[in-house]
């Protein structure tokens, strides 16, 4: 129950140079505040991998306590007020995000790696997004092409051929090649 719903590091990441040289834990929290605010505002965030993954925990925890305690809880309200720099987002948290994630048993955020730019600095970038956001998906979903006319005709032809030759191919074990060989001979 206390288990995190996403992989968590044992120790927090230090944000070196998040606000220039000499930034410490106070600046880290400041940076995280900005990232959390941006994520709740835009529902998708593109940043360094480490920034994304660190922000993820804070956003998840914030949504979790909002779901659990509601907007009548003083401590939760204080936390929301601290982490959301733009105050209209406090309403969004309790009125939009809480109903959206109430019945989730998984994490309410998704993380995707972005490719490294070559040539360029070799920084690993990533995308952090809230689930159920209105943007087009990051990972393109394959269309189900089984119902296209050509595919329907081909599959029925295959089935007919199988009936003629009395072949029972085991498709799960990758017997497509055998089937083709049989068809050629």
């Amino acid at each position: 129950m206390n288990m995190f719903r996403f992989p968590v590091r044992n120790t927090p990441r230090k944000f070196k140079k998040s606000f220039g040289v000499g930034s410490g834990p106070a600046e880290r929290i400041k940076k995280l505040q900005m990232l959390v605010t941006a994520l709740i505002r835009n529902e998708r965030l593109e940043a360094k991998e480490s920034y994304c993954l660190e922000t993820r925990g804070y956003v998840e925890q914030l949504i979790q306590i909002a779901i659990r305690n509601g907007d009548r809880h003083a401590e939760t309200m204080e936390k929301a007020d601290f982490w959301l720099l733009e105050k209209d987002l406090v309403h969004k948290l309790f009125k939009v995000l809480v109903p959206r994630y109430q019945n989730y048993s998984t994490a309410c955020t998704d993380f995707h790696f972005l490719p490294k730019k070559v040539p360029g600095s070799g920084v690993q970038m990533g995308i952090l997004e809230l689930k159920g956001n209105p943007w087009p998906p990051v990972v393109p979903r394959q269309r189900d092409q089984g119902h296209l006319l050509t595919n329907v005709l081909l599959s029925s032809a295959k089935a007919e051929y199988r009936m003629e030759k009395k072949i029972t191919p085991d498709l799960r074990n990758g017997d497509h090649d055998k089937l083709e060989q049989a068809a050629n001979t």
Binding site: N2, M3, F4, P25, G57, Q61, L62, R68, W83
Partner: protein, 318 residues
């Protein structure tokens, strides 16, 4: 030439026959659970929910009193999430309840005045009784402990007792009360009058169901040197320390690296170093149920023994 040939053939036949023999599980694992089998359940997130599913009646049927978790902080597991072992925690809880069925461990808090009787083979009467104020209670599960402090012959004495030590014979609470601070180690640097209690003190009776009284006494500390930098601990039960510390110390106290204001709203820090409220409720319902069951069994046993004694007495009369 014939003899070696026969040998080779024999070996060949034996080898080929071996394939058809039934396989036997090596006996070294017959009475133990292999570590990696247990390991799976230790870290699996499913193991925490499985308890809920297996329970015959849902947890909502049992109403655990709200104070139960504050009365029994020893049942709470080690809070650092990546070092927890759920199987061990469960076994420990079972052991603790078994020990609690034998010895009566009363409700107490930091600040309560207690008396502990310990089996000691070198003491006269083979027992040792110590009275003192509880200045700390900590430790998780079976390793829960509390520290008693008293001044004896003008010397401060502190004894740390493991709560589930089998040598403990009796734990009494002479005066049940709370203090303003979670730990009272600052009594080491306070005058001895604050930690002096009579060894023959009589217990103060408390009404059942009444709120635990809060002792809001403010201690006047000795001047420095101290065993710790008390000015940095934000103590509530101490009179202001401004007269005892220098200007430099006051400035140092307000330094951000000592105050650490960024830790106040750090949600992940809290999640990493504390136990979730819902899990606490789950553990407490489990403990509460087991405790009730053990008490019922105890009463039943007593009843049976009583009946036997009555029967015996009747037989003797006849």
């Amino acid at each position: 030439m014939a003899a070696p040939c026969r040998k080779i053939i024999n070996q060949f036949v034996k080898r080929s026959l071996k394939c058809f023999e039934p396989r036997v599980i090596p006996c070294r694992w017959s009475n133990t659970v292999r570590n990696h089998t247990v390991e799976k359940h230790r870290h699996s997130p499913l193991s925490s929910t499985r308890e809920l599913v297996n329970q015959q009646d849902s947890p909502s049927d049992v109403m655990v009193p709200r104070e139960f978790r504050f009365v029994h902080p020893d049942f709470l597991p080690y809070p650092v999430w990546n070092r927890r072992d759920r199987v061990r925690e469960k076994l420990e809880r079972e052991d603790m309840l078994k020990r609690r069925a034998v010895i009566d461990i009363p409700e107490f808090y930091v600040g309560s005045i207690m008396a502990v009787t310990l089996a000691d083979k070198n003491a006269p009467g083979k027992q040792n009784r110590f009275v003192g104020i509880c200045i700390d209670r900590a430790g998780h599960g079976l390793y829960h402990y509390f520290v008693l402090r008293n001044a004896i012959d003008g010397q401060g004495v502190e004894i740390k007792y493991d709560m589930y030590n089998p040598l403990l014979l009796k734990i009494e609470v002479l005066k049940l009360e709370k203090r303003l601070d979670p730990q009272l180690y600052y009594l080491r640097d306070a005058p001895l009058e604050y930690s002096t209690f009579r060894l023959d003190m009589e217990p103060v009776s408390v009404l059942k169901g009444a709120q635990v009284p809060l002792n809001a006494i403010k201690v006047k500390m000795n001047p420095r040197p101290w065993c710790r930098r008390w000015e940095r601990h934000n103590l509530k039960g101490v009179l202001p320390l401004d007269d005892y510390i220098t200007e430099k110390m006051k400035k140092q106290k307000q330094h951000p690296q000592i105050e650490k204001p960024w830790e106040k709203h750090d949600l992940m820090l809290k999640a990493r170093t504390s136990i979730d409220d819902r899990e606490v409720d789950q553990i407490m319902t489990e403990v509460y149920k087991r405790k009730e069951k053990i008490q019922k069994e105890k009463f039943q046993k007593r009843g049976q023994e009583g009946k036997r004694e009555v029967k015996k007495a009747q037989e003797v009369k006849k």
